[in-house]
């Protein structure tokens, strides 16, 4: 069993890892075809994983309802919506006939939607709920900014000042005020030139975004990429094996 559960997956990972490490360097058409083939396989596996995810979701919540565990009512709501949207998704809908202009046909899925239960649910339930969830964040951000954005230390002060610059720089009035302020700063010799630009608001905002922000982001990006390369090598050479899962061999 160990041969099937460990040796074969490790060998496959090594061979495919090495092949696709070298693939971008090969100009041969076969290399491109190989990438295309594997890309299609990945898309198929991803599609199947959606079905697996739905199956898992269904079983987990069904179990919760059976046992009547904590919050089982929410699971019941979830499963009702699950069936409601699934049935609506497969319900035929009236669409423009792409072959004959001005005529309509009934079909499952497609563009040019006229009537559909699925789209009714999408536009009238899912979309408002999704937008509401995100919009509520605005209230919490305002409350959190008031309670937590304090100049307690040098680092906190820098963060606070940057945040205020970006917020003011992102509103049209900030630009106008910046212009007025820049005019009054023109005679001050010791200030750096960018503070005297007519577009003070966006100029300082852009400076924060393109100099300190970009330096930090680039450093993080390099760190993440180097970490990714190290992890990939560990997986290819079989040092990192957690993806194989636990259990008996």
């Amino acid at each position: 069993m160990r041969f099937f559960k460990r040796t074969i997956p490790l060998a496959l990972t090594f061979v495919i890892g090495v092949v696709f490490f070298l693939q971008p360097f090969s100009p041969h058409p076969f290399s491109g075809k190989l990438l295309e083939l594997f890309s299609n396989w990945v898309a198929i596996v991803a599609s199947v994983s959606l079905v697996l995810g739905l199956g898992s979701l269904f079983l987990v919540h069904l179990g919760k309802i059976r046992k009547q565990g904590a919050g089982w009512g929410y699971s019941a709501v979830l499963l009702s919506c699950f069936f409601w949207i699934s049935v609506a998704g497969f319900w035929p809908m009236k669409v423009d006939d792409p072959q004959h202009e001005g005529q309509t046909i009934w079909k499952i899925g497609g563009d040019g939607v006229i009537e559909s239960h699925y789209f009714w649910i999408y536009w009238n339930v899912y979309r408002p709920c999704g937008a509401t969830m995100f919009s509520i964040l605005g209230f919490f951000i305002a409350s959190a900014a008031f309670r937590a954005f304090r100049a307690r230390s040098l680092e906190a002060t820098l963060l606070l000042v940057s945040a205020v610059i970006i917020m003011v720089g992102n509103i049209p009035w900030g630009f106008e005020w910046g212009g007025g302020l820049a005019g009054s700063l023109k005679g001050v010799n010791w200030l750096p030139d960018f503070t005297k630009a007519q577009t003070l608001g966006p100029d300082i905002r852009d400076w924060v975004l393109t100099v300190p922000n970009m330096a930090a982001k680039r450093a993080i990006l390099f760190g993440v990429v180097l970490g990714g390369i190290a992890t990939s090598l560990r997986i290819i050479f079989g040092i990192e094996r957690s993806y194989l899962g636990g259990g008996r061999d």
Partner: protein, 273 residues
């Protein structure tokens, strides 16, 4: 004494102020001044410079949570493309939930240009493909292996809108409208490999992540958040949803700045005591 009453301003007061700051400016009609942004102007100029008939790929990679920020950008870009008579190929790689939003935007804007744009000749909706990384890799080798048919189930090959397109390299510009990590996939597996011109429309919180790609010229321009979307609408010259949303957003930003200042005054006053 409860936690709420100990606070200098109770949470419900802040929530009420935010609600008023969002609703009142949205209902009032007042003109906001110009808000220049170099990176937004760069993307606009890039689209303007494309010759008539150039194929442009737009990837709609956002869900209703980010619709408020990205929908105005999508509308402004589509209007510009249709005005410029560019061929627009629309798809989504993010999640199936993005598809109805894409369909809604395209349906509205194509109606505005009724008689001037035709489905299949000037624009096409090719739908959704899962596994973004694999899909981008696949489109880089053969576009039709990932999207063989459009959403009306018609074969894409041979459609006038697809003339001269076989891989991602053949697009004059690729624009990703994203809320999430999709731009990373487009940049790593698409742009850096196939060297096509790429623009980005994203949420404000994402924008800071993509400045290094603007400096390296992997992105020709970026529309980051509502204020940038408002700028793009102004450049295109047709008022859209970002204008009214920007009025609310500007007042909320001022309110948050004011709250931060008040919070710090209270903090230092309490420390002195």
């Amino acid at each position: 004494m409860s936690q709420e009453t100990k606070r200098p301003i109770a949470r419900w007061v802040i929530f009420l102020l935010v609600a008023l700051a969002a609703v009142i400016p949205y209902l009032m009609k007042f003109e906001l001044p110009e808000l220049p942004a170099e990176v937004v102007d760069a993307l606009y100029k890039e689209v303007e410079a494309l010759p008539e008939g150039t194929p442009v790929l737009i990837s709609f990679d956002f869900d209703p949570g980010a619709e408020a920020e990205l929908d105005p950008m999508a509308r402004a870009i589509l209007r510009q493309c249709f005005r410029k008579k560019l061929r627009v190929i629309n798809l989504s790689l993010y999640m199936p939930q993005a598809v109805p939003l894409m369909q809604g935007v395209i349906r509205d804007i194509s109606k505005e240009y009724e008689g001037r744009v035709t489905k299949g000749t000037d624009y096409v909706v090719v739908g959704f493909s899962p596994a973004a990384q694999a899909s981008i890799n696949g489109m880089g080798e053969d576009f039709y292996s990932v999207f063989p048919r459009d959403m009306d189930d018609r074969p894409l090959k041979g459609m006038p809108v697809m003339k001269g397109i076989s891989t991602l390299k053949d697009f004059g510009l690729v624009i990703d409208l994203a809320a999430g990590s999709l731009p990373d996939y487009w940049l790593v597996f698409g742009q850096s490999k196939h060297h096509f011109k790429m623009g980005l429309g994203c949420t404000a919180v994402m924008a800071t992540d993509y400045y290094p790609y603007l400096q390296s010229k992997q992105l020709v321009g970026m529309i980051g958040g509502m204020s940038a979307g408002y700028r793009y609408e102004k450049l295109v010259g047709i008022p859209g949803p970002a204008g009214s949303a920007m009025r609310s957003l500007s007042v909320i930003h001022l309110l948050i700045v004011a709250l931060v200042i008040v919070g710090n005054i209270v903090y230092f006053a309490q420390r002195r005591r």
